[in-house]
Symmetry: D3
Subunit: 133 residues, 6 copies
């Protein structure tokens, strides 16, 4: 059970309604996820998170499917059930199939393993990124 | 300082040398990273991790650059300095530039934020992935 | 389902009963949470955790509400459902309303985001705390 | 070493300069932290993160010192050195002394402990927050 | 609900069947856990993870019970419910009783606490492991 | 650099001195680690953490070496450098050699991997611990 009462999707609060409408239009969906309905208990936060997410989640040099797969990698590493589910659903709408998910989770698992082995052996960086001058 | 003495790159231990040679050949490099030199203190582990990594890190439905960017996402989420550095260097060799890294880290940051907001509001999955029957 | 059988609230084990009674008295409650009933399977641990918690969770320079909000921040960052729920309930008893929870989770989310961006850019401390000499 | 070349504080890029100037004005400081100089490699991200941070980090029902102490709790839980240092410095400017830091870290440590004990015993929520109807 | 359709235990896919049979034989069990049935959606991954797990989870200088208790420590620290449950069950089969689990979780809790206090105080290593020369 | 001034090992503060003396006696060492010198800035916390640690870190059904290896597993999973170093040093004093460390980190790596794969596939517990009735 959520720790707050979710704001009704048909709220008449003008600030919340404006964000909900923008979510529906931008994503071409008819309902607003619980994440946004929880955030709407704090309209300042709702507006600011939505604005930031819109800014980050548009196609750039990385396409949207790649961005959603990165979201899955982060969410699986953090163990957030709601987040894993919603980002897999979003990636599937953009074309991710079971084989791609399998490869993605294989990479996520592998590097969670090597990350922790590195911490146990306390290795210091020996390969440095190329920093453009 | 590493918590074990790294195995010399020119070791004559046949099992370790075989893996080191395979790493150099597979990656077309002339030296072996400290990660492998630390693992080599336990040759069984060295062989098994390398075999698993080779299996996962080959091109499939996801290309290698995408896989390295997922490795960066995992390593940044875990805060592993050695890992962040080496995977950024690897991704750069495969074509990732500063703009792409910026977009990648924007996505990593965003979803680490939303993951934790979701935990605070204790949201239950409301969008389920499509599971092929 | 818990991984151990919770100890009965009305246990006659004298060491466990003494802690349970102290919990009820200290917190002015009539029942003992499952956390303590699980710990009671190991009375040494029960006594020691309760003693430590009592020592930390008393008003000092930080008031109890602030301490409970910090507990929520930690629990949301760790994604512990039981903990998020119980610490939000405790903070509510001390006066936290939905607006305060919203602000708290906004801060929790924000800095989980910036923490991970910092790891991705591998920034070294450039602002050091003032250390009293 | 950072994984990107930090943008010069005296950059003439108008979008970056506008944000840097706003940071200096808002915080009444003469230099811009490395965090913002790293973000500035991606001006869209710089603008959006700064806008979001400004929105969240203003006094509300929680005062700024409380918000900075929550930032310390999150950063210590995540083990981010840059973040711990900068948020402790910020909290000190707002009045946090060594005693308060000690109490804060005592609470952070305590609930990281109980969070993990709860996960080991797999406890299900038994105290639910009050959700306003 | 799992994010993929689990592969049937009686699958006729020869690669998957070979791994499933080896799991049953190696562990002397009659059914295959959901973990392996999920991995089987990607047979390459299934084979490689099983091979790696078999290599690591055999008695060496550490016995199997110690290895399973370490698995519990990792899983509780990560907060993975499926993993905590299955590793506790495995350790119980190897002789772990409630008292041992209690001691194990006491240690897990304690060092999750001290780890985070250390991060808050930003302590640098002052006791270095002995590295064999 | 630590975020507080470490308390001098030769402090004359009676409460702190009593704990420092007890640490030296209990562990048969001549100096006090920085962890305790940082905690000593808050004597209540110092006393309570030391008392709790002494309670947990005594031989029980699990021996001290096993407990220190669990401490390494937790510290590597959390990526705490100070902690990894000090617990490896402690385990070495109790008899852990490089081979045992290698096996330990192999287990730590393996289950960090499987933990995150499980989260990605969102598996629900299918093997439940035996709970004594």
């Amino acid at each position: 059970m959520a720790t707050v009462k979710l704001v009704d999707e048909n709220t008449t609060d003008p600030r919340v309604k404006a964000v909900f409408d923008d979510i529906k239009t931008t994503r071409n969906v008819t309902r607003v996820n619980d994440f946004w309905r929880a955030l709407a208990t704090n309209p300042d936060h709702l507006e600011s998170v939505w604005r930031h997410l819109k800014s980050v989640m548009r196609p750039g040099k990385l396409d949207l499917l790649t961005k959603e797969m990165i979201a899955i990698a982060v969410s699986a590493t953090n163990g957030c059930a709601y987040c894993v589910n919603s980002h897999i659903a979003a990636a599937q709408k953009l074309g991710m199939d079971t084989q791609m998910l399998g490869e993605l989770l294989a990479v996520v698992g592998l590097f969670n393993m090597t990350n922790k082995i590195v911490e146990g052996y306390q290795l210091q960086p020996d390969v440095l990124p190329h920093v453009e001058s």
